[in-house]
Subunit: 392 residues, 2 copies
Amino acid sequence: MKINENYLKLKESYLFSTVAKKVEAYKAANPATEVLRLGIGDVTKPLTPSVIAAMHKATDEMAAAETFRGYGPEQGYDFLRDTLKAYYSKRGVALDFSEIFISDGAKSDFGNFLDILSNENRALIPDPVYPAYLDVNIMLGRQIDYAEGNKANGFKPAPNLAYDADIIYICSPNNPTGAVYDKKELKAWVDYANKKKALILFDAAYEAFISEPGLPHSIYEIDGARTCAIEISSLSKTAGFTGTRCGYTVVPHELKFGGTELNALWVRRQSTKFNGVPYVVQRAAEAVFTEKSQAETGAVIAYYMENARTISAALTEKKIWHTGGKNSPYIWLECPGGMKSWEFFDFLLERAHVVGTPGAGFGKMGEGYFRLTGFGSKQTTEKAVGNILKLL
Amino acid sequence: MKINENYLKLKESYLFSTVAKKVEAYKAANPATEVLRLGIGDVTKPLTPSVIAAMHKATDEMAAAETFRGYGPEQGYDFLRDTLKAYYSKRGVALDFSEIFISDGAKSDFGNFLDILSNENRALIPDPVYPAYLDVNIMLGRQIDYAEGNKANGFKPAPNLAYDADIIYICSPNNPTGAVYDKKELKAWVDYANKKKALILFDAAYEAFISEPGLPHSIYEIDGARTCAIEISSLSKTAGFTGTRCGYTVVPHELKFGGTELNALWVRRQSTKFNGVPYVVQRAAEAVFTEKSQAETGAVIAYYMENARTISAALTEKKIWHTGGKNSPYIWLECPGGMKSWEFFDFLLERAHVVGTPGAGFGKMGEGYFRLTGFGSKQTTEKAVGNILKLL
């Protein structure tokens, strides 16, 4: 028996473990100091009342033979696919019911979708980037190119005909940079993909954090996207589902390569290697989209975004170049004084007792940058920002 | 962009859709006749009171910031891994905590585990078989050999040194045949795998249905299994989790190929392509293993097994050769009078109003055989058996 040797090419990521170790060491040496965490990538607010009520109700259904649910459809229950169709329709995106697949989260589908694509394809991945995009391609032995983000392009790399890409990753609003493509910028990627007969994997996990009108929440707001893009999204950040696990993936029927519909292949993959999302979780997800619930989750998002704005305002006051914080819970800043990412991490921890995430951990283009997030509490965020303002 | 061409080699399975169509046609033609379904592969009894209580409690925890759970460990929460360690320990199997991985079901892990194994490996798959084993290997372009089950070997194929296998699938108690390997028979497979340096993927999804003492519930009851086998199991049938989605996979640290621990590769795979099972579902799963809950789920299993015994007794009375029904909810019978599988399906439907599953749908060795199950209601099962006794 031979292992998949590609796994041996993976680099261990020590980003979050090194952050944790440094914080522990600092706390041990300074037990009286309150450490203020602005590096959190997880949500901190509980599920909303509407979602909780739906989960209780669904749990009760599982307790009686008449309402019990066994195996569900691998692609998700009709009630949830219908709900998502209506959600898309509100912003003018018409999807067919059969184009929407319920998943246990964006991370799973970003990995699993590659199953139906040849390993000969070349992947184009932004740098800096959410690390899982890269690793799932290394695991398959794929050739990888990078679309480099930098200060000049505002960490929104544009397509370049020199790229020989087959599979293109785009995340907007971006993790870790918080940068958001506008419609014109996204249209350039859609045109490029259609021209190259490439496939875009569009990560819309942070779409609910967009506050400015006119910015695209979905790639299907762009003409031509239905022939070149799938969209993967999640309720993790939208509705606090990081521990509840539900997302959705859109695969338009127009997506055909070599005469084969990707939608049909994805149905086959999911039917064979997945058994669907728990019934109670699908009912919880359905409840996210009621009018009452949208107000509840909207209030939670507004809370996180207020934190992000507080951080962004302080950086603006100190003339520190940054992206995000406006249509994204992430703030991506240039380390002041030419500091490197880990240098600034130590400086901020020691001098302001604030923990963030070194940008270098997200790719080589992240060196010299740093990520803060709005997912902490209001109180912690304000204290941290106060310390940062004093320090810088 | 190129698709994974291996998908084009998959055969469409029309087994269950053809069954459904034939039943619909029969009902349309005979509206007054009650059709008795003994082909059900899903559970029909609701979740037990202990499990329901645990899900409600966990849901309430998700409603308050102090007890809310965000991202959990991809490998599962400690509380559930500890519970399973204790469950294995009760039958003398000592596992390390880090060898137990919580999954969203056996089907996912049977597909996903192949990610970490080279596509050059040859797979050895029993025939007849649960169709997903075969399809996930076709999707990867693997060479496949078959270990043929038949009346002579009681649908328990033995290892054969002529096989050139790297990856070996064993399901015991078996779906669809209900046959169960004893310790000596399983030891032969373990010895074969160790000798060939092959890997066994052991499917223990029906272990809770074993009633006879001495039969192995886990492959780790066999000496030498820790160097050649992983075990994949599920709460789907054990505790009615087909719509709630929770299973577990055991990967011993001794499993090394080319000097690399499979356990480490699986950790890496799951951390990159999976975000764990919902917190509420893991709490529900934990509740399955309390003493009170084991009595509750035991009663449900006893109910299904009483149905299986009723069917088996009738077949014995009619001298129809069959396996299963004793340590498995499945009964696998030789079609009487030399009928082919689909011929017997039509005969049974038209003459006894009973629906089962044609064995030919599970592989070529299934031709001439037929599957019935104990998952229906007591009343339906008794009526169906009465009709069968009258007919045959």
